[in-house]
């Protein structure tokens, strides 16, 4: 019966919903949807909405969800590394200083992925399952720009078109965005791997509270 006002850490529902929504969208676009397809773009816009909501929440949300609670600071991060080295366990109300750097890195990368994706795709197609033509590219000399999408005419990834010796017809800006998209996506995979390693490490070091704070129904307060 220790009276205590220190409640177990638990993220609010907006942080949880946007986190798991973003996870689902990233996995969906990485593994499920056809690259550049209507569904890929829809999922991408959904991801953008979730991230936008989380960033809004970083301004108006509860204290531990606000940006001020986890400033990106190398000094704090290196102090935190020192604490880990000495085996000290300091409780953090928000992300720990290393986690904070990771969060900003993931958000920044997601913004680049979204920005380059939107730059390539434009507005979301009215019907995501409709087959899209190639945008900004007149491959093989055929004029199948915007609305040319006939059934069965799947998107030819420009990378593959390049291999076919069509590099000259590629729109310069489009190519740049595509390059950005690809690089940012690969960076994102790397960051997510580090993120998972970080969560696993922190769970082993300080217990299940870190994980329980994010999973649905975790860290019950009663």
């Amino acid at each position: 019966m220790e009276p205590s006002t220190e409640l177990p850490r638990r993220w609010d529902p907006i942080v949880k919903l946007t986190h798991w929504g973003i996870v689902a969208a990233v996995i969906g676009n990485a593994l499920v949807t056809e690259e550049g397809s209507g569904w890929h773009i829809w999922v991408g816009y959904g991801l953008a909405a979730l991230l936008a909501l989380r960033l809004l929440w970083g301004l108006v949300g509860p204290r531990e969800a606000r940006f001020g609670a986890f400033p990106p600071s190398l000094a704090r991060a290196s102090r935190h590394v020192g604490e880990i080295g000495r085996g000290e366990k300091v409780r953090h109300r928000s992300h720990n200083p290393l986690g904070a750097l990771m969060v900003y890195a993931i958000w920044g990368t997601l913004l680049v992925v979204i920005g380059s994706g939107v730059a390539m795709s434009g507005a979301p197609p009215a019907d995501p399952s409709a087959v899209r033509g190639e945008h900004g590219e007149g491959g093989e000399g055929e004029e199948h720009e915007e609305a040319s999408a006939g059934p069965g005419q799947w998107l030819i990834a420009p990378a593959r078109a390049d291999e076919g010796g069509e590099a000259g017809t590629e729109d310069e800006g489009e190519e740049l965005f595509e390059e950005m998209h690809e690089i940012a996506v690969n960076l994102l995979y790397l960051l997510v791997a580090l993120h998972l390693a970080g969560v696993a490490f922190e769970t082993r070091r300080t217990g299940r509270e870190v994980l329980g704070a994010m999973i649905p129904g975790g860290n019950r307060r009663s």
Binding site: P3, T5, I14, A49, W57, P124
Partner: protein, 164 residues
């Protein structure tokens, strides 16, 4: 008592989760609507249809922002109540142990008294403590005489008076 407190907390959790889920859907809808309006604007230029669309898009975005603000207030209130409850629980625990000390209860008696206050009868207390029912009955009568009451109901009402 513990059970009803728990469901109360869970109901509040569900309430905020529902509001949060609606807010997420609203944000996704707003994103698609805004992107669509911008796409139309780029394709057709400004028309009356697009002016209306832009107004709806603006209303949706404003709705998300206001909704986020409202949810934050809701969460802060729930958090404050939860903290107050924790403090009250701690205060009650402090109060109980102070009274037990005043009466000169032994450690074992104080534990039995706590079970008695929670409404357990002698048999249940014996089972919970792994003691003989006779021992518990003896402890209970010692508790009653030290606190100056004659029954379990009397013991409970002592603390009820303190609370009211």
């Amino acid at each position: 008592m513990a059970a009803s407190r728990k469901t109360g907390l869970m109901r509040r959790d569900r309430q905020t989760l529902l509001v949060a889920a609606v807010l997420v859907i609203q944000a996704v809808a707003a994103m698609f609507f805004v992107a669509d309006a911008i796409g139309d604007l780029a394709a057709d230029g400004m028309t009356r249809h697009i002016a209306v669309e832009a107004m709806i898009a603006f209303a949706l975005m404003a709705g998300v922002i206001v909704g986020a603000w409202h949810l934050r207030v809701l969460l802060a209130e729930a958090d404050r109540r939860e903290r107050a409850l924790t403090v009250a629980r701690g205060a009650l625990a402090d109060h109980l142990s102070a009274r037990f000390r005043d009466w000169g209860l032994t450690t074992a008696e104080a534990e039995v008294a706590l079970f008695a206050l929670k409404g357990c009868d002698a048999g249940e207390i014996a089972r919970l403590r792994g003691a003989a029912p006779g021992t518990v009955r003896a402890q209970l009568s010692s508790i009653y005489s030290k606190s100056g009451v004659s029954s379990q109901a009397g013991l409970v009402s002592l603390f009820f008076d303190d609370l009211l």
